[in-house]
């Protein structure tokens, strides 16, 4: 079982990196064998993203060595990493929006025929290479980016959260293709927060915690998932109890309770056709949908950033028409986006970001009342356990902490109705759990929360009930307590009564 270093395809050892006073990596190592799909795991702030940046050459390590096929390499840029045989695919496709696909392929010197082959393997049958990248749907771009990387046949293919926001059917295809890479001469480094993906596709997993490699787990053995989680957290975590224990709110709700938010026959754009539901105080209502079923438009309309083309919204019994997000916020409807960059002032401090909603009324002239602001902001930071070591600039926080800041600003203001659109996208397990708990706490304190999530297991953990949207319409309402992942997936595909399985969501 001992492996000498020459047997390894990629070996990184003794990697250390500090940013000013913050130690990102102390002593990280990673050893990947040929023919292996290897997971790189770590909770928030464990140093995983720094490790990725070092491997791809975006950041130089203070100490440590990286060798590929036994040859030590100093990698100073993605270009050099590429030449050394390491190609990465990220959650955000690295395609140039203003160039057509052919030029994008030329830019990375990608051979055309292998590219077409992999695009077909990934389910992209017909692709016009003269399309501008900006005109293609995001799901297709992700597939193109992966096919482009596969076509180069790199020694090391690194997939960084590549599946994080992929629709379920595409994820499956991607996992199949990655699984097929096993056993060859090359290897894949796979980074994902989804344990099911890790266990279905990976051979081994290297776990980072607090800047150090704390273990390498053989994923194929039983109980490995629990072992990985233990290593990541450094303490044994019990599974969060599913929220199903208490009776669904709708059952015990007195008849005269007014819904906080009542939506009827809402329509917008080409995707949202007819959605109606009621959201009551004290509940978390889940929204289940495959990618592109109109949920984006629904949240945009409810958050006031898009005008509906039909239907009505009532807030606390009064008809509301939002012309601007400020109108929605004034009505107590606040929005947490999946993409933190949409919500935060990246160059400003944690405190300013949290306090922003207090200050948005330009009509309130004069000095900001810091006496009122400070305790509320501090309380919110405390409550969400935001890591404030790098609080001077939000952009230097980890993704999970950034998302906490976007939630904290509404918590500090006092939540009535919160719209959460995939708030845990690309966030580690520990922070995810904190966010679920917070949503539950807020609901128990009387808030009404609408939660869309691309991870179906979150529904059972965080929600009371859930509506399923398919093709712009609500097709089912389920009790979260009884909705396990397979059931939700079937509902999301609208399997059952009348519809058949959609075949080519990605290619459309």
């Amino acid at each position: 079982m001992t492996v000498t270093s020459t047997d390894l395809l990629l070996e990184a050892s003794g990697i250390a990196k500090t940013y000013g006073a913050v130690v990102a990596l102390k002593n990280a190592s990673l050893a990947v064998r040929p023919g292996e799909v290897h997971a790189l795991m770590g909770a928030n702030g464990a140093g995983k993203s720094t490790m990725v940046k070092i491997l791809t050459g975006a950041v130089r390590p203070d100490r440590g060595t990286i060798s590929i096929r036994g040859v030590e390499r100093a990698v100073h840029s993605p270009h050099e990493a590429r030449r050394g045989g390491l190609v990465s695919v990220y959650q955000e496709p690295a395609l140039i929006p203003d160039l057509d696909i052919r030029s994008n392929l030329r830019l990375t010197e990608t051979p055309l025929e292998p590219f077409r082959h992999w695009a077909r393997e990934l389910g992209l049958e017909e692709l016009d290479l003269s399309n501008m990248a900006r005109d293609l749907p995001l799901a297709s771009l992700r597939v193109i980016d992966l096919a482009r990387a596969l076509a180069i046949e790199p020694d090391v293919l690194m997939l960084d959260e590549m599946t994080a926001a992929l629709p379920a059917n595409l994820t499956e295809r991607v996992l199949t293709v990655i699984g097929d890479q096993r056993g060859g001469d090359r290897c894949v480094i796979f980074i994902s927060h989804r344990m099911t993906e890790i266990s279905s596709v990976c051979d081994r997993a290297t776990v980072l915690r607090e800047g150090e490699t704390v273990g390498v787990v053989d994923v194929t053995t039983p109980g490995s998932a629990q072992r990985i989680v233990e290593l990541m957290l450094g303490e044994i975590v019990q599974d969060l109890p599913s929220h199903g224990g208490q009776p669904a709110v709708s059952a015990g709700r007195p008849a005269d309770v007014q819904p906080r938010l009542a939506v009827s026959s809402l329509a917008a754009g080409a995707k949202l056709h007819d959605v109606s539901f009621e959201l009551y105080p004290g509940e978390v209502l889940g929204v289940v949908a495959l990618e592109g079923q109109g949920q984006d438009e629904l949240f945009e309309v409810l958050a006031g950033s898009r005008k509906p083309s039909g239907g009505a919204i009532q807030v606390d019994g009064r008809t509301a028409s939002f012309g601007h997000p400020a109108d929605a916020i004034r009505a107590g409807v606040v929005y947490v986006a999946a993409d933190r960059a949409e919500a935060l002032l990246m160059q400003r401090s944690v405190r300013e970001n949290i306090a922003l909603p207090f200050r948005t009324r330009l009509a309130q002239w004069g000095l900001i009342d810091l006496g009122d602001e400070r305790p509320r902001v501090s309380e919110a930071i405390e409550r969400l356990q935001i890591d404030t070591r790098a609080q001077a600039e939000v952009r230097r926080l980890s993704g999970g902490n950034q998302q906490k800041v976007t939630i904290a600003r509404w918590v500090a203001k006092g939540v009535h109705t919160m719209l959460c659109f995939d708030p845990t996208r690309g966030i580690d397990i520990r922070t995810k759990h904190q966010i679920y708990l917070l949503l539950r706490d807020l609901a128990e304190a009387g808030a009404a929360i609408l939660l869309y999530t691309s991870e179906l297991n979150e529904i059972q953990i965080a929600c009371d009930r859930a509506i399923v949207i398919f093709n712009g319409r609500v097709v089912a309402e389920v009790n979260a307590a009884t909705a396990d992942e397979p059931a939700l997936l079937r509902a999301a595909y609208n399997l059952g009564a009348d519809a058949e399985m959609p075949t080519q969501l990605a290619a459309e």
Binding site: R82, P93, L95, D98, L99, L107
Partner: protein, 332 residues
Amino acid sequence: MTTLGETVQMRGRPAEAALSWVRSSGWILGLLVFLALLFVFTLFIQPTYGVRGIQGLAISVLPLALAAVGQAIVVISGGIDLSIGSMMALTSVVAARFMAEQPDLSLVVVLAVLLLGLLLGLINGVLVVTTRVPDIVVTLAMLFVWSGFALVVLPTPGGSAAPWLRDLFRGEFLNEWIPRALVALLVVVGVIWLPIRRSRLGLSLYAVGSNSLAAYRSGVSIRQTKVLAYTLTGLFAALAGLTLTASTGIGTPVPGPYTLLSVAAVVLGGVSLAGGRGGVLGPIIGVIILSQLRTIMTFMRLDPNLAVVAQGAILIGVVMAGSLMALRRMRQ
């Protein structure tokens, strides 16, 4: 299956290609129509405007057109060069002074001036990528630096241009309606820009301007690309400076209004100031439009000060109309 698909695609290609060209070059076609209307209007108010007018127009727009091409290149790559006017002044006075001092070596002087342009641009580019000061600040600072050097080289307007250089841009080419200056412009741009546009460097310029993170992750060296963009801009500034000396016959150390006019022409020419979109043809047409507007206002005996006001208003109006049309097309 695939072969069949490809042949079908082949058959549809010329018509489709033409259609997609019209769609992607809508802005340029619009500019050409606007320019044609301007010429018609010019003839309407000044029926004697003809060959002489066209010749005069071509030679007068040449320096600014070259500057606009240079500006377009750097703007496409996501930067901006505010020092272009003083680079023109510096290269122009170097050319004028040394051609006056060494009339026999005028060809050497021309080549040296072009090298000087590359060097100035290289310095701009290296400063931008190494200091990490924003482009607009670095090149604003260099605007002062280069114009200072220009005054050192030639404190007052003077010097001269070699006669062959002057003749290079004067008069007609084959036909009296084809000014030499226009041919020179097209040749210079064709020889320098077109090969670059088709190379990996050209792709990199657009890539870095369009989305620098994606470009970086695709293996493009952002620093090299930016330095090369500024270097190319320096070369075009030198060409602009040379033609300025050639058309006026002297060197003027104080920069003209070329910097801001080049930015205006770039915007008018459909290049996105955010980078990544546009080409060099649009800015060239933009320069001709800006110049013809001036001519028209002179013919109309408008107060020159008000003429500048009108020029600004038209710039905003044209760009706004273009954006509105693009927006409407997107809605459909």
